[in-house]
Symmetry: D2
């Protein structure tokens, strides 16, 4: 397919590389153009404006947050696009913005698909992302070959674009809760002289298998929060978005509120750039350890 | 081995059956003697008093809660036992009582081992329990053949008996947090029209595999809370014990507090005998659904 | 003084009436001009644009929320104002917006004073408002005669305008906590058959005197939440602003989070337009009553 | 009247002194007899056993906690008492124990009145206590003259003794919430450079008058937590009793849970013997200050 791609962070760069490998033609744009060099060598066409990327069969975007996306879009991007273009936004953004964008695209005859992903840069590089897609079914059908080039599975979650964002935020909320809970459990165990690693061995080989408990649990057990796989500061961003999504439908998330408070405490103590697992440190500090 | 066994609920009965199968001689006692009939047919010797069971190489107990255990023990059980007897308590009790019992046994030349288990009656029947053991290493060594007859793995977690209880309560706390979080996520998703089952398919095949998310998640998705695999009322008991264990070492568990509040709300609405997953109903009700 | 006034809701109308009574000349503007009629009869000059009000010695604004204020200001208001004009914003807005406005005004040679008030419309009508002012001291000195016309006391809380907003939001947070606590206490007492009114009589005549406990307590005791003196929906707005102000300085407010969850629950059950005291209903419902 | 009095802590000693002043004959008992010396000089008859005090027209008790009271009562006190004796327990105990005692007394033809008090030792010395009484009305009528000798007002809250304990615990819960809220507000204000004392001046002279906000607020503003007027450790005891009372009627107290977590954190950091206002320190520490 003839694809545009906006936003070449670690995730975006890995995605584009896999799109190129799968034979798609990709025009790429990034605020800092140097990020595009390696992709140019791999066959991508580097363009000078977002508008040039916002063309072809479909355009994908992977920008850092609501602010970055609003800024790019507000520069007349939709007004200048050809009717029928499919815009697939793969970033984790707010439900409010997703809903706004879906309406704005539809009003101009464009298709808006939300397709946030689960998986970190190494997973993206291996083309093993889990993709959560929502929006017009026909549009998703058309971009499915591109999804196949970058992910191991695409889950369709609804016909309203923002539903994919809700699902992604719910997953991140669950992740946040699991890490907070591991931190609290660790503080409880430590108070009684039980080794966190021993406890982790038990639960990860029985009721709580999987990468979340193993990965974050190990960091908490070792009190080693750097290098960060997922920064506490970004974790707070996601929890805040989940709480905002819940507020839109008047839904209290008491555990979400508790995690938010803990993340604020981590940031207050200068640990915002450390791994999310630093919640273990917060729980230990509260217990005077 | 020559074993006594006190407490023939569903779990105890399944354990004794497997002990007998493995060739151990077992004297059994239960407050309601009729529970012992099937085991008598399988070769167990039914005795009339706890004191008769509290003899031989080792005695195992599996009573409902602190109160039941205190009552049986307070009738002079320890005073009448032969020095060197090993008492293995497999029930989930408070850390305070475990510590008291460890001291009381040691003072009379008896060995006290805490060996709470993970797994429900069907797991116990299949001799697949996960056993978390703590206490004097030599005593655990001696009863290991019995553990092997009822469980698939024994994890040794410390030399102080109560440490096994702490680990078990921490695991139950994590379970409680996971179910509460599933309930809250379900309310968030439902508010935006995303099907919980679709969401579960995504997370259980990626970041959150395992029986907890699949099993409780399915009940929440189907809003089907009976028959109860693990009752909300018993869930509250365990969360209360975890909070008490944490209080002993001045450790706040904010998520534990949140789950406690939700379980109280479930019980207030008459759902205490329903499955723990009824936390999904609590979260939905708060959101007006 | 020669004053402009923007925003003629219940509060604004009462304030302007008192300014006129004290002899000040007031040009008033409101989005819906009919709100200005009664003030015109009392001597106010009704103007057709915010820009006409944004002139003279000082201009006061009392708009509903951040959005309303941003909209009015963004229409070139500051650019068109004469250097040295003092803008006194008496509304409860976000700390972020207050800080932005302070900078924007200073950059154009204008003075920005934040002067949020405590007191409801009846208090405003009686010229008994409590005024919390912050910003450049000299500017506050100059408008003090106007404050004296509408309030019983002006408290100066700092030299940065947004500090007055922080103080006002902290006061509203305390109010919210007190009402939530009354609601929870009421649920506890009700469960044991103790009459809330009896309890209120005790505490308001001893440790908790004052209008908050008496007023909201009485509504909770009588389970009468209409007519609303302060709507739950607006209460949530203020709690949200307090949490946001706290987040700016990485400060967790666990009680604030708890109140937010309760207010969301009230709104989810259709009680957003009822009085804030409806938190008593939330607490009772959680307890199954 | 002919009175017995059990428990001569600071509060009990002050009460007995005022009973003597009012002309009552008082037999006093305390575990540590030296506490009785000053009262003996004032006319009290010191007795050697609780049983000797548990006689006459009425006996009052003011012991430290449930454990102390259970210990004294369990030594056959009720069995040895003359039918018709009125036992007035003025201590803050659990609702469960109050209910048990009411039944146990009634079963032996004794009257049990719960009459917990509000006010610290200086208030007790001034005979200005607020008394919250519940139990059989006739029994309360008979001891009213004694109440009049030690308190400024007696509030009758119900016919079941434990209802007075519920009311007292609810009042203490409200106090705890107010102090926690002051602490959180202080952390918010401090983060923005607003002086807590300035804020206190505003709220205590408007919406939040009264001793709680003035007294604890001042300690928080001055970060001075010693000498303790009401220790954090005892505050936790009361919050725990309130949560337990609420649990008996399946009532969640989310703010209660939050305060409990904060008090645990204070104790974990070695501040259990400091004043309850040390919650301000907890809130500041969480915010990294």
């Amino acid at each position: 397919m003839d694809i545009g791609f906006i936003g070449l962070g670690e995730m975006g760069t890995a995605m584009v590389a896999n799109m190129l490998k799968a034979g798609h033609r990709v025009r790429v744009w990034n605020r800092s153009p140097e990020r595009a060099q390696s992709l140019a060598q791999a066959g991508a066409q580097v363009v000078a404006t977002p508008a040039e990327a916002f063309a072809g069969d479909a355009v994908f975007s992977m920008l850092a947050d609501d602010t970055a996306l609003r800024e790019v879009v507000s520069a007349g991007l939709l007004e200048g696009a050809a009717r029928g273009l499919i815009h697939v936004n793969m970033a984790t953004i707010s439900v409010t913005l997703a809903e706004e964008l879906a309406h704005a695209h539809a009003a101009r005859g464009l298709h808006y698909v939300a397709a946030p992903v689960m998986g970190r840069p190494d997973v993206a590089a291996a083309a093993k992302l889990t993709i959560i897609a929502a929006g017009p079914a026909e549009a998703i059908d058309r971009v499915q070959p591109v999804f196949d080039a970058i992910g191991q599975k695409t889950w369709r979650i609804g016909s309203l674009a923002q539903q994919a964002n809700v699902a992604k935020l719910a997953a991140n909320f669950m992740l946040a809760s699991a890490v907070e809970t591991l931190g609290e459990a660790s503080a409880l165990l430590g108070g009684h002289g039980v080794a966190m690693q021993d406890f982790l061995d038990i639960i990860t080989s029985s009721v709580f298998p999987g990468p979340v408990y193993q990965g974050y649990g190990k960091m908490i057990a070792e009190q080693r929060y750097e290098p960060a796989l997922f920064k506490a500061r970004l974790g707070l961003k996601d929890v805040r978005l989940a709480l905002a999504a819940a507020e839109l439908v008047s839904t209290p998330l008491p555990v979400g509120s508790a995690v938010r408070d803990s993340l604020l405490e981590a940031i207050a103590h200068g640990d915002g750039e450390k791994d999310f697992a630093v919640l273990g440190k917060v729980a230990a500090r509260r217990a005077g350890r």
